[in-house]
Amino acid sequence: GAGVSQSPSNKVTEKGKDVELRCDPISGHTALYWYRQSLGQGLEFLIYFQGNSAPDKSGLPSDRFSAERTGGSVSTLTIQRTQQEDSAVYLCASSLEPPDTQYFGPGTRLLVL
């Protein structure tokens, strides 16, 4: 079956612009996660959605970052007023009820100039 998909695969933007990154989880997966992978920082948890519960935003690095999940499926990660330090690969994962295995998408590579 289809895995987790993310779009765009690559995004180049100018400092100060807003960007939106999209994640389509595996059908039927109730949990959705966003991570960031950057040189020197490794893989960092950003935010977690589970069903209709309030998301866990404890990993978001600043208030410029936000995410939503519509209809319990697709999620969008928004970064406002992008900074060069936001350059990274943003990975989305989904799973059945935690702590079940998380399946990762291919990521969106973001470059902020």
Partner: protein, 112 residues
């Protein structure tokens, strides 16, 4: 707080040789443990996981890992490495909750 340590940043092995990648974790209770592999330009693929039960876990591609509670370790092993195993390997710890806490990764180079 949870933490995951992968002491080896880079490892080089000859094709056909055995492999062991180290992972140590710090966590108050029995964690959920995972090994993922990431090939260049690819997403993370699950190799194996440990939740409970038998401490020796078999995974895909001929990999196995052993959970040793006394050593807080979950080392990944493979008896004979293939050139296609060259990749970045990540150990991760999950709590009864959700977010995975990843190690910094070990980059594996396989020489002919």
């Amino acid at each position: 707080a949870q933490s995951v340590t992968q002491p080896d940043i880079h490892i080089t092995v000859s094709e056909g040789a055995s492999l062991e990648l180290r992972c140590n974790y710090s966590y108050g209770a029995t964690p959920y443990l995972f090994w993922y592999v990431q090939s260049p330009g690819q997403g993370l693929q699950l190799l194996l996981k440990y939740f409970s039960g038998d401490t020796l876990v078999q995974g895909i591609k001929g990999f196995e890992a052993e959970f040793k509670r006394s050593q807080s370790s979950f080392n990944l092993r493979k008896p004979s490495v293939h050139w296609s195993d060259a990749a970045e390997y990540f150990c991760a710890v999950g709590a009864l909750g959700y977010a995975l806490n990843f190690g910094k990764g070990t980059s594996l180079l396989v020489t002919p």
